[in-house]
Amino acid sequence: MVEVHGFDWTIKQLYTYPNEYIYWSVLIVVYPYITGLVAGAFVVSSLYHLFKKEALKPVSRFALLLSLAFLLVAPMPLLLHLQHPERAFNIYWTPNTSSAMAMFGYVWLTYFIILCLEIWFVYRADIVRMAMEYKEKRGFFNRIKYYIYKALTLGYYRIDEEALKLDEKVGKFLSAIGIPAACFLHGYVGFIFGSVKANPLWNTPMMPVIFLVSAVVSGIALTIFSYIIAMKIMKRDIDMVALKTMSYYLVLFILLDFALEMLEILNHAYKQTEDWVVLKNIVFGSFAFTIFGVQFLIGLVIPAIILSLPGLTVRRAFFASILVLIGVLSMRWNVVVGGQSFSKSLYGYMVYDYPIFSTNILILKESVTAVAFLLLLPFIFLIIFNKILPAFEFKEEKHSTH
């Protein structure tokens, strides 16, 4: 039997067109998830850098690094899912101007450049200081560190007041163009789905907006989640003001997200157009649990309640952030897999029997194992970034003793 892409994990029910399979697998579920986290984490950092939310200062640098770590991973699920990954750069050479997907390379690159510049300007003074510090030190690793910092200074060593002011100004400007770039990066992912008129579940102008808002939700939750873990690992005190401020914004965006996502489902359910014959069996049938149970209840309603109750504790915030992260992942699942779970003939269904592990490399690369690795990878990047560009500045007198 020759390998037909999707054959191994698609179970067909009733009538589907013979060529219909679940072509976009778990990889495409995590791809919008990861880009969403990128956009969301950037928004957290921008709240400080652009809107001067002083309370978020302790996490502003961390959120930037988090955003970069996930941005580096964002193209990986796409590359893995391409049938011809060796031709991936074709989207740079011959972009089709009418294709939403063709923009990915350019949008990603633009955002990457903005993010790198922003990080550079935010960290520049520290980089220069480090370069000076390591210049004097002896030893192999210190020399390597010196060369890394020396390279990162890009030969610009001024850290007088005037230079620092300029850094801040440029950083603010980059934040200002970074927010629309981040929104564009993720809004366009929503557009990739929302513009597919052949698919009744995807075909809605709400899609980019829903993706964008849920991206911010997931990004804030990710920052809370990673911040708490990072502080536990480093044995430092958690800045409760920062945590509460993030939780506050998280609740706001959860409410907005809930309204938009509900509106979209109500829109389908009330209008009951031709495709409702199959959509109702997806929304209220096979996907009812992941839509209403996980996406809405576990992912939005419960965390909103947990975070809104007075006297927020670290444990509660941590728990809520995990729930939100699960909820948004499930929303991506419901869109990507849900949208492929019925036949465009509206006569049948497809069940995604997702592979968890396989010895066949073609199946392994689209398996849950591969996805788990991809979701772990940004944290490894983050640890490396943090070694070079420390995300947190601790005041020594606040140093906790336990």
Partner: protein, 249 residues
């Protein structure tokens, strides 16, 4: 060498006049060449007997492995019962013809009020969504209206497969690029008919150029009431069906 202003203006005007004349000449020649072709197919549902010859011929002609469950063309069977329920299937794309009962459900002969076969293929849309969404421009429409895939340029993202409302596209199991019916472009350019049209025993498939008044399809479009699949997509499909029932989607 110094060029005086006068000389420069002279040169400039000569060059621009030359370009102007060239563009006029181009236009005249282009008009002469513009006897545009538009290849289409007409499928007469009343004539299809569901023998599956077209499916086999297509797979052999276009080197899509016979045992792979992907099809450039396939035949659907529709059964409407007395309670007005519709049963659809396309077992292995109809390649083995239809001898057994559909979808594992026993339908008694006396319960059936209507049954028919519908051959399907790429609709070679006038306004194809697959071409619109292809990120690298690997899929494109030819001058004569046929939508093709460049196997050397396709990155295999699957966006065209998602965008096609007709399920006409798939990943070719061997070359791993998006694949679909080409109206047997390699044959029609030599004046031959597509493989499926050639083998159809009942002439349920008719192929031709709808711009040519002497062509058979031109006359059919003129005289018959034809329909297309999913007209609401705005894709303007160019495979026309005679005798299509509302159950067909």
């Amino acid at each position: 060498m110094k060029v005086s202003r006068r000389r420069f203006i002279k040169m400039l005007s000569v060059v621009s006049v030359a370009f102007f004349i060239k563009s006029k000449i181009d236009k005249v020649f282009a008009k002469e060449e513009k006897k545009k072709k538009r290849y289409i197919m007409v499928v007469d549902i009343n004539k299809c007997i569901g023998c599956g010859s077209c499916v086999i011929a297509c797979k052999l002609e276009n080197e899509v492995p016979l045992d792979a469950e992907v099809y450039r063309t396939w035949v659907e069977r529709y059964i409407v019962t007395k309670d007005h329920k519709v049963y659809v299937d396309s077992i292995k794309g109809g390649i083995d013809a239809y001898k057994k009962n559909p979808i594992g459900k026993e339908i008694k002969k006396e319960d059936v009020i209507k049954t028919f076969f519908v051959p399907k293929l790429c609709n070679q849309c006038e306004n194809p969504s697959c071409v619109q969404v292809c990120p690298v421009g690997a899929t494109y429409k030819t001058e004569d209206g046929v939508v093709l895939v460049d196997r050397k340029w396709c990155i295999g993202c699957g966006y065209c497969i998602q965008a096609c409302p007709y399920g006409a596209r798939f990943f070719h199991p061997v070359v791993k690029t998006a694949d679909k019916c080409t109206f047997c472009y390699h044959r029609i350019k030599k004046g031959l008919k597509p493989a499926c049209v050639t083998v159809c025993p009942t002439r349920a498939r008719i192929f031709g150029d709808k711009m040519n008044p002497n062509d058979e399809v031109y006359k059919i479009l003129k005289n018959e009431k034809v329909n297309v699949l999913k007209p609401e997509t705005g894709n303007e499909p160019q495979v026309f069906y005679i005798g299509m029932s509302k159950e067909v989607r």
